[in-house]
Amino acid sequence: MAREIQRPAGKYTDEEKKTLSKTIEELFIRFTSALKTAQIFEPNNVAFIQQLKPLYFLIQSLLKSLDKAILQFRGNALFFNTIRIKVDFHSYQRFKFLVAEFKQKEIESIGFEPDLSADELAHFIVIFAKSREKRLKTFEDFESAMEAQGIKNITLEKLHPFDPNLRMTPDEVKRSCKKVFLKSIIHLHEVMEREKKHEKLHFKTTRRLIQTIINLISFDESFMLGMTNIKNYEEYTLNHSINVTILALCFGRRLGLEKNELVELGMSAFFHDIGKLEIPLEILNKKGKLDDEEWEIMQEHPRRGLTKLVLLQDLSYFPIRALSVALEHHVWANHKGYPQSWKKKELNLFSKITKICDVFDAITTKRIYRDFSFTREQALSMMLEKSGEEYDTLLLRVFANMIGVYPVGTLVALNTGEIAVVVETNPEEAFMLRPKVKLVTDEQKEKIDGEIVDLAEKDPETDQFKKTVVNTLDPDKYGIKISDYFLAQAMG
C-alpha cells in the first residue's frame, strides 16, 4: 500500500512514483477486472462483489494517502494521478479494453472523492460496464445516468477537444492508415534514392512518420496489422520494410516499450534492409536458387547496410540500435545465421524483434524465387518450431500471441458455410479463436462485399455462438487478394 505522501496529485518525485507504481498497477488490474465481471454478472452476484470489495478498499487507501485518486486517459495512454500506467504484454489486453471504454464514452478522467461509498462505486462500475446495454451513447448520457443513480463522489471529465481520439472517426483512422502506409513507401523510396547518390540523410521526417504510425497503431492496431497484408514482390524491399516496421511497432507496444524506444525500434525496422542497395539487382531478382558466390554476396547485405548507415549519417540524430539491427537481423538467437561476428556476442533486443517480424513478413510474401507464400498461420507454426534456435523463445511467444491463432488477414471458412477474412483479433485471451471477420462469401460461397461480424457473438435464443471458424484457407488458391479487403475499408 502507498505510504503517506502529503502532496497534491501531480507533484511526485521519481522515488515516489516508483513506490506508487505497484499500487497503481494493482488498481488498474482491479478496476478492469471489476468492469469485466460487471459485464457478465449482476451486481448482487458473488463474483462481482468479490471484485468490487478490494477495489473499493484500494481506492480508499489511495485517497487517504494522496488526497486525490484520478484515473485519466490522454493521448492513448492511461494515467493515475498524472503517473503513467505502464503497459506490458501481460496488461496489454486490459489496457486496450479500458482505453476502448474511455474512448467510447469520451471520458478523459474519472476522479474519486474521499467520501466515496461502496454503493456509489458499485453503481458506477455497473453503469460503466453495461453502457452499451443501457444505450448510453454520449458522455452526457453517461453523466446523466450517474446523476440518476445519485453518484456524487465520482467526477468525470470529458475528453479535451485536442485529444486525438476525438479528431478521427474509425473510418477516418483507416483512411489515415492507408495514406500513411503509402507515404511510408514513398519516403523509404526517397531515402534509398538519396542513399544511392550518397546524399546526406535527415531523419526528422522519418521520425515523424514513425510517430504517426505508432499513433495509428494505438487507434487501430488490427487495421494496421491488416495493412501488412499488402505485398508487392516487384518492389519487395520497400513494401517489406514498411510491413516489418508496422509489425515491429505493434510488437514493441505489446512488450511495453517506452515512446522514445518505439520510435527507435520503428526506425531500426525501417532501415533494416538498406544494405540491399549494395546487392546487384541480378542477384536480388534472380528467379532461381542462388549459387554459392551469389549467396555469399547476398549475405553481405547486413554488413553493407551497417557500413552505409555509419558512413553516411551524422549519428547524433540516428538511433545506434538501428545500426545493430541492420547488421544483426539475420543472426539467429543461437548465434548461427549471418553474418558471423568478431567480438560482438550480445544480440541487440531490437535485432531479435526485427528478425521475427522480418521472417514472418518474408515467408508470407510471394517472392521472385518462390511463386507461393505461406499463410500467416503456417508461418507462425514454422517459426515456433525453431523457437530457441533461430528466434528468442520468449519474444517469439509474445509475437505469436500478438498475431493470434487466426491472424488479421487470414482467410477462414465458417461453420455456416461462409468464407471470411479476419479483420480484428479478439482482445480476450479466452476468445482467441473468435476474431472479428469480414464476410467475403455467403453461405453458398457466392462472393459478396459482406459485413463485419464478431464471432464472439452469441445467439440469445440458443446461447450458442452464431458463427465459428472451422478451417483456414489459402487465399492464393482462390485468387483472393487479402490486402484489397483492407484497402477497400480505407476508401473515402
Binding site: H90, F162, R167, L182, L394, E429, K447
Partner: protein
C-alpha cells in the same frame, strides 16, 4: 532556419475544426495575454542565446512562469492558436513576429503545431520541462529540429498541443504509387468460390468435431474453446513470465549506445575488405575514442585500445595499409595533446574509474611516462601512488632510458622514487642514461644514482662514478669513491691514480682519501703500490697533519687489501719517518698475519 514551403493543408485539418472557442474576448484579458506572449517570446529568445543556468535565462523564464501561473489561476486555460508568424487568442492576434530566424510562432508552426494550451495546475517544473524540450529543438540543426516530434515523446499533465496529422503531406510527395492502392469494390462481388476437395474435406471434419464440442447453454463464455485452442496452437504466456520480459527489456536498455557503436565499428573494421572504407570507419572510431577519453571513461577507452591492438594482430600480413592506419590511432592516443588531456583529467579529478585509468596508461607505454609521473606526484592516495609506481617500473623495464630521461626533469621525490626502482627493473645494461645525473642539482639524487651504479658494478658504471669524484660536495665524491670497484678497467684506475698523484690530493678530506686509496689498493697494481710507497716516505713540515692523515689512509687501504706487495710496502713503512706511522704499519702487518693464521690453524686441524 531553412526556407519552408508550405502548401495549405486540407481545410478540414485547420484548427477551425477544433470545437469552437469563444469569439468574444475581454480587452483586459487580451492585454494580459499579449503581455504573456511577450514574456514567452523573451524567455524563448534568451534560451536561444544562452546556456541553461544562465542568469538571464533563469530570470526571463522565471517571469514567464510566474505570470503564466497567475493568468491560469484566474482563467483556468490559455489556449494559443499558432499562425505562421503570429499567436492568436480567442481568434484575436495577440502576438506577431515575421522574422523567421527569430520568430517563436514560426518555430512552432513549421513543425505542424497549430494550437497550444496551458492549464491551471501547471507548475514551474512542468513548464521548465516543456521549455527544455523547445531548447533541445532549438539546438538541433534546422534539418533535424522538430519541436513537435520531441514533445510527442513526453507526457505533460497541464500542457496540450494540437499538431497537424497532415504534416507528413508537406514533407513526403504523393508519387504515382497511389494507384497501386486503389481498389474497385466491385471485384468483391460476383462469382463463386469453389473450395478444393481437400479443403472441403477438412471443413467437413472440423464441422463434425464442432457439433460434438458445442458448450451447453449457460456455460461460461469461451471456457472450453478459447483456452484449449490457444494452448494447442500458440503457447499462452503466464503472469510469471512478465518479469522475464521485463528483464529482457532492462537488459536491452543497459546496452549503452556508445558501447554498442564501438562494437559495431569494430565489426566493420574486422571484415572490411576495402582500404578506403576501412579508413573512413576507423576515422569515425577514432573520433568516438577521443570523445570517450575526453569524458574520462577509461574502461571503454581501454577496451578500444585493446581491440585496436588485437585487430592489428589479426590483420598482420594481410594489409599493410590497414596496419599503418591502426598504428596511427595508437600513436595519436599518446601524442602531446592526448597527454595534456590525460594530465588535466587526472589533476581535475574527472576520472570515472581510476583502475581503468591506470591500466590505460600502462597499455600506452613509455611514451606517457610524464602522465604517470603527474599521477604519482599528485596521487589522491597511496593506492594511486603505488599503481603509478608500478607503471613506472614497467616502463622502466621496457625503456629505462625514457624513464631516466623523465626522472632527470622531475621533482626530487619522484626522481628518487624512480632511482629506487632501478634495482627492481633488473639487469641494467644501458647505464649511460645515468650520465645525465652527474651534474644534477640535487645531492640526494646524485647519491642515489651513485648507489645504483655501485650495485650495477660494471666498467660502464665505473666510468660514470669517477666523474662524481670531481663533485663539489664531499659526501658525493666520497660515496662515489666508495662505490667504485676495481674491475680491471685501466682507464678508470689511471684516472683515480692521477687524482691521487695530484699535489692537492692530500688536502682532500680523510674520507675522500681513504675511499680513493682503498680503490687503488683493491687494484693490487704496481703503480698503486709505488704511489703508496711514495706517500709513506713523504714527509714535510708543511701540511704535516694532512700528510700523516694521508699516510694513515694508505696503511688502512693496504691492510684492507692484503697481498705480498701490500705487505712489502707496509714493511717499508715500518722504517719511515714518524713513529705513529711506523707503529701503524706494524699493527697492520700484525693484523694481516693474524688474519692469515686461522687458515693455517684450520689446515693443521685437518691434519690432526
Amino acid at each position: 532556419m531553412e526556407e519552408q514551403k508550405f502548401d495549405k493543408p486540407d481545410a478540414q485539418a485547420e484548427p477551425e475544426e477544433i470545437p469552437a472557442v469563444e469569439k468574444k474576448v475581454d480587452p483586459a484579458e487580451l492585454n494580459k495575454v499579449k503581455l504573456l506572449f511577450k514574456y514567452f517570446d523573451t524567455a524563448f529568445s534568451t534560451m536561444k542565446l544562452y546556456p541553461p543556468g544562465n542568469p538571464s535565462v533563469e530570470k526571463t523564464v522565471g517571469i514567464f512562469d510566474e505570470k503564466l501561473r497567475e493568468f491560469l489561476e484566474e482563467y483556468d486555460e490559455m489556449r494559443i492558436g499558432i499562425g505562421e508568424f503570429n499567436f492568436r487568442y480567442k481568434n484575436e492576434i495577440a502576438f506577431q513576429d515575421e522574422e523567421k530566424k527569430r520568430s517563436l510562432p514560426f518555430f512552432l508552426f513549421k513543425d505542424g503545431m497549430r494550437q497550444l494550451s496551458f492549464f491551471k495546475g501547471l507548475d514551474s517544473k512542468e513548464l521548465q520541462y516543456f521549455l527544455n524540450i523547445l531548447k533541445e529543438a532549438i539546438d538541433l540543426p534546422s534539418e533535424e529540429s522538430d519541436a513537435v516530434g520531441l514533445l510527442w515523446e513526453k507526457d505533460f499533465v497541464n500542457i496540450r498541443y494540437y499538431a497537424l496529422d497532415e504534416f507528413l503531406d508537406l514533407k513526403i510527395g504523393g508519387g504515382d504509387k497511389a494507384k497501386d492502392f486503389e481498389v474497385d469494390p466491385g471485384k468483391f462481388k460476383g462469382g463463386k468460390i469453389e473450395l478444393t476437395p481437400e479443403d472441403i474435406a477438412e471443413v467437413k471434419d472440423q464441422q463434425d468435431m464442432l457439433m460434438f464440442e458445442q458448450p451447453k447453454k449457460g456455460e461460461g463464455e469461451g471456457d472450453r474453446e478459447g483456452m484449449e485452442g490457444s494452448d494447442q496452437r500458440i503457447p499462452a504466456l503466464t503472469p510469471e513470465e512478465a518479469p522475464e520480459i521485463e528483464k529482457l527489456l532492462e537488459k536491452g536498455r543497459r546496452m549503452t549506445s556508445e558501447g554498442e557503436l564501438v562494437d559495431l565499428l569494430f565489426e566493420i573494421l574486422y571484415f572490411e575488405k576495402s582500404d578506403g572504407q576501412f579508413a573512413d570507419v576507423l576515422k569515425m572510431l577514432e573520433k568516438y575514442f577521443l570523445e570517450i577519453v575526453r569524458s574520462a571513461d577509461f574502461s571503454k577507452a581501454l577496451g578500444i585500445l585493446k581491440n585496436v591492438h588485437e585487430l592489428k594482430e589479426n590483420l598482420r600480413d594481410k594489409s599493410e595499409e590497414k596496419i599503418m592506419l591502426l598504428d596511427k590511432v595508437e600513436k595519436n592516443a599518446k601524442d602531446e595533446s592526448s597527454k595534456s588531456l590525460l594530465k588535466k583529467l587526472y589533476l581535475d579529478d574527472k576520472v570515472k574509474d581510476y583502475d581503468s585509468f591506470f591500466q590505460y596508461l600502462e597499455i600506452l607505454g613509455p611514451e606517457v611516462v610524464t602522465v604517470v609521473g603527474i599521477a604519482w606526484e599528485n596521487a589522491k592516495d597511496m593506492v594511486h601512488k603505488h599503481k603509478a609506481a608500478d607503471i613506472l617500473r614497467e616502463i622502466g623495464k621496457k625503456d629505462v632510458g625514457a624513464l631516466l630521461y623523465f626522472a632527470k626533469g622531475s621533482n626530487v621525490s619522484l626522481s628518487l622514487e624512480i632511482m629506487s626502482m632501478m634495482e627492481a627493473i633488473g639487469d641494467l645494461k644501458e647505464v649511460h642514461h645515468f650520465e645525465g645525473f652527474v651534474d644534477h642539482p640535487n645531492k640526494d639524487i646524485r647519491l642515489e644514482v651513485i648507489r645504483v651504479l655501485g650495485k650495477v658494478a660494471s666498467q660502464d658504471a665505473n666510468k660514470i662514478l669517477v666523474r662524481f669524484l670531481a663533485d663539489n660536495d664531499v659526501e658525493v665524491s666520497v660515496f662515489a669513491a666508495q662505490n667504485l670497484k676495481y674491475l680491471g678497467d685501466q682507464e678508470v684506475f689511471e684516472f683515480v691514480l692521477e687524482l691521487a698523484k695530484d699535489k692537492e690530493f692530500i688536502r682532500r678530506t680523510r674520507m675522500e682519501k681513504s675511499s680513493m686509496l682503498n680503490y687503488l689498493a683493491s687494484a693490487k697494481h704496481d703503480e698503486a703500490y709505488a704511489l703508496f710507497r711514495s706517500f709513506l716516505k713523504k714527509w714535510s713540515l708543511f701540511s704535516a697533519a694532512k700528510q700523516n692523515e694521508t699516510r694513515f689512509c694508505v696503511v688502512s687501504a693496504l691492510e684492507s687489501h692484503p697481498s705480498p706487495q701490500a705487505r712489502e710496502v707496509l714493511q717499508e713503512g715500518t722504517k719511515v719517518f714518524g713513529r705513529s706511522v711506523r707503529q701503524a704499519c706494524r699493527v697492520a702487518l700484525s693484523q694481516m698475519e693474524h688474519k692469515a693464521e686461522p687458515q693455517q690453524e684450520s689446515k693443521d686441524d685437518e691434519r690432526t
